[in-house]
């Protein structure tokens, strides 16, 4: 194994999650960002953030 794939994966999803969470928080209350009644950017951003950090934690534990 040349590179632990979990490292770029974790970094990518953590960054993506942080981006979506921040955007979701900044636009909270605007109907266009919660069209189905769910502030989905905020919620799904948090899911991606947790997934990304989970992968990074696995990399750290593996070292």
């Amino acid at each position: 194994m040349t590179l632990d794939i979990r490292l770029p994966l974790g970094a990518f999803f953590a960054l993506l999650g942080a981006l979506l969470t921040a955007y979701g928080a900044a636009t909270l209350g605007e109907p266009a960002t919660a069209p189905t009644g769910v502030p989905i950017d905020l919620v799904w951003g948090a899911v991606l953030l947790a997934f990304g950090f989970g992968l990074l934690a696995l990399v750290r534990r593996g070292r």
Partner: protein, 609 residues
């Protein structure tokens, strides 16, 4: 057309930066041709497993299965639970020991080791042509979709996507493709999961979806459960929207086509060959089978939802402010859902006449829907800015992973099976490494050219796909006899492949689906029989091809000289020691994983019976 917000572009740019970054990082680890083409056989099973499934998760899967979900309902899951999982299990348990254990570097090379040079040449040439054209078709579909959905330039879309794929494969070879396929796998799963959740929420969950699809089914003359039950109406082809009866489905799709693809197609088998041990190689398709059996919920259900959600739900009913935003960012050149003509067309727009731009109607006067837009339309209906960027990036990832799979398979088969075998045999390894990189460039350039051919002559691409189907259908008979019957000979295999291909062409030429016109759909040799649907015709063509190849291979093998048994260890069952895993606990062994996957697949079939 939908206009994107800045956040959507940032998400896409982040994705491009990471896939290129992975390629650039891996370049330093590529020293030999085996590093470039086979990842130095160093990748763990969970990575090759996810790459195995991701290489198959191209446009056809995400867009095509969504389209089939809208067209046929949950019966589309047969392509997974019947048409994929059993074959993947068979590959892992019984065929990988030969592919991996023989140290063949490609599937065509296995054919040379087992049979002879001419059998390998037929497979290598047809496969190389098939991969670059498949890649081109995928590229064309992506360019067309982005143009229709976002108004992006067709030329720019395909050039940017093709260049990104080219750069990361050129730099890091198969390892780069595999790593990016893992990233693309998670992106597709995490990009489409919220679509399913929001869509189901909008229609009242699975019960709400079933109730709405029941109305749709009865309006089309089927039983109420025809779109939400996978087996109950397969007794007769006319009783289900797929237009296929259970025997044709199980034999045609579940046996011939499925085993022919999953067990012999180098595009997917190459991922398993990159694994770091025999056990890892055997586990690769079994690990891939776990997400594969759940994919119907990710790619088929969106199509079913698109058919029944209200066109004013999602982003479009978010109140006056949202409505104003959407109106200001939504132009009108995207075909709109038919207003009242169909009882349940949801957000699926009508298919438009290319010349007049008017909606097309079928023989019964009903509006013909453009099912390929089912999933993309659901995406722009439910996803707000931000998540829309994620969804579209997931869509892009699916196109790119499919293309990368084709290009890496092409560069390997070209370099090892054609260039090294017939053009320059004994060059230094660095020469073949360089050739692999040049082949990557050539593969991408041909893909782009094929995309333009598809854009100009749609029927030519239909014709090419038909020829590929003829070539592929008999292949599993050749491999099955080669691996499990030591008496099979090279002359038998070669004659069987030709006979199978000719039988497929003859059957197709003598049959026609109901309502189709003579031509690329069949009937060009006369009309001997009619099938209730195109799928039924495809399945039976495959059955005929496989049977012809199987029978002719046996007959010719019996009258030609077989190879000595001493030449066949590692290549044929019975002459090869069975792989054992003494260091693994019972639940870690491939057989245990296979039983678990099979049991779960059976349960899914029963739940949606």
């Amino acid at each position: 057309m939908t206009r994107l917000a800045w956040i959507d572009y940032v998400v896409m740019l982040l994705y491009f930066a990471f896939v290129l970054g992975i390629g650039a990082t891996l370049r330093r680890y590529v020293h030999t041709s085996e590093d470039f083409f086979l990842s130095g056989r160093s990748i763990p099973a969970w990575v090759t497993g996810l790459a195995f499934i991701s290489a198959n998760l191209g446009a056809q899967e995400v867009i095509g299965m969504g389209a089939s979900g809208a067209k046929y309902g949950i019966a589309t899951s047969h392509f997974y639970w019947v048409g994929a999982i059993p074959a993947m299990i068979f590959l892992g348990l019984f065929m990988m020991p030969f592919y991996y254990g023989s140290r063949a570097r490609s599937v065509p090379e296995y054919l040379r080791l087992r049979f002879d040079e001419k059998t390998r040449a037929v497979n290598a040439v047809s496969f190389a042509v098939m991969t670059v054209f498949s890649s081109g078709i995928s590229l064309y579909a992506m360019g067309k979709l982005l143009n229709l959905l976002l108004g992006w330039s067709f030329d720019a879309s395909i050039l940017v996507a093709a260049c990104v794929v080219l750069v990361y494969i050129f730099l890091g070879g198969l390892t780069s493709a595999i790593y990016n396929e893992v990233l693309q796998f998670f992106l597709i799963v995490l990009g489409f999961a919220p679509l399913v959740l929001l869509g189901l929420r909008a229609v009242g969950g699975w019960p709400g979806l079933s109730a709405r699809l029941a109305e749709h089914a009865t309006a089309r003359g089927f039983a109420a459960g025809a779109y939400t039950r996978s087996w109950a109406f397969m007794g007769h082809a006319a009783a289900n929207p797929v237009g296929v009866e259970w025997f044709g489905l199980v034999m045609g799709l579940g046996f011939v086509l499925s085993f022919g693809y999953w067990c012999t197609d180098f595009l997917v088998v190459q991922r398993a060959m990159a694994a770091n041990s025999m056990t890892a190689a055997r586990r690769t398709p079994l690990i891939a089978a776990v997400p594969k059996m759940l994919f119907p919920f990710l790619v088929i259900v969106p199509g079913m939802l698109a058919l029944v959600v209200s066109p004013t739900s999602g982003v479009r009913n978010a109140g006056p402010a949202a409505a104003a935003t959407i109106t200001s960012t939504t132009a009108t050149n995207l075909p709109q859902p038919p207003p009242t003509s169909a009882p349940a067309s949801g957000v699926v727009p009508p298919k438009l006449d290319r010349r007049t731009g008017a909606p097309l109607h079928d023989a019964a006067g009903r509006v013909v829907l453009d099912y390929d837009l089912a999933t993309p339309m659901l995406l722009v209906t439910f996803f707000p800015a931000g998540l829309l960027g994620l969804g579209l990036t997931a869509l892009l990832a699916s196109f790119m992973s499919g293309m990368a799979g084709n290009v890496t398979a092409f560069n390997t088969v070209w370099t090892y099976d054609l260039y090294q075998s017939y053009l320059r045999r004994a060059a230094p390894d660095s020469h073949y490494l360089a050739m692999g990189r040049y082949a990557t460039i050539v593969g991408v350039v041909i893909s782009i050219a094929a995309a333009y051919v598809a854009a100009s002559f749609n029927n030519i691409m239909d014709f090419l796909q038909l020829v590929f189907a003829f070539v592929n259908a008999p292949l599993f008979a050749t491999f099955a006899l080669g691996m499990f019957w030591k008496r099979a000979t090279g002359h038998g295999a070669f004659a069987g492949l030709l006979a199978g291909t000719l039988a497929a062409a003859a059957h197709h030429g003598l049959s026609l689906p109901v309502g189709a016109t003579v031509g690329v759909k069949g009937g060009y040799l006369g009309s001997l029989t009619t099938y209730p649907s195109e799928l039924a015709q495809t399945f039976w063509t495959a059955i005929v091809a496989w049977t012809a190849c199987f029978v002719v291979t046996i007959l010719v093998s019996l009258v030609t000289r077989p190879r000595a048994p001493d030449d066949l260890p590692g290549l044929v069952w019975g002459l090869t020691p069975k792989p054992t895993d003494p260091t693994l606990r019972w639940y870690q062994r491939p057989a245990a994983l296979a039983v678990l996957v099979l049991a779960f697949t059976l349960a899914l079939n029963l739940v949606f019976f």
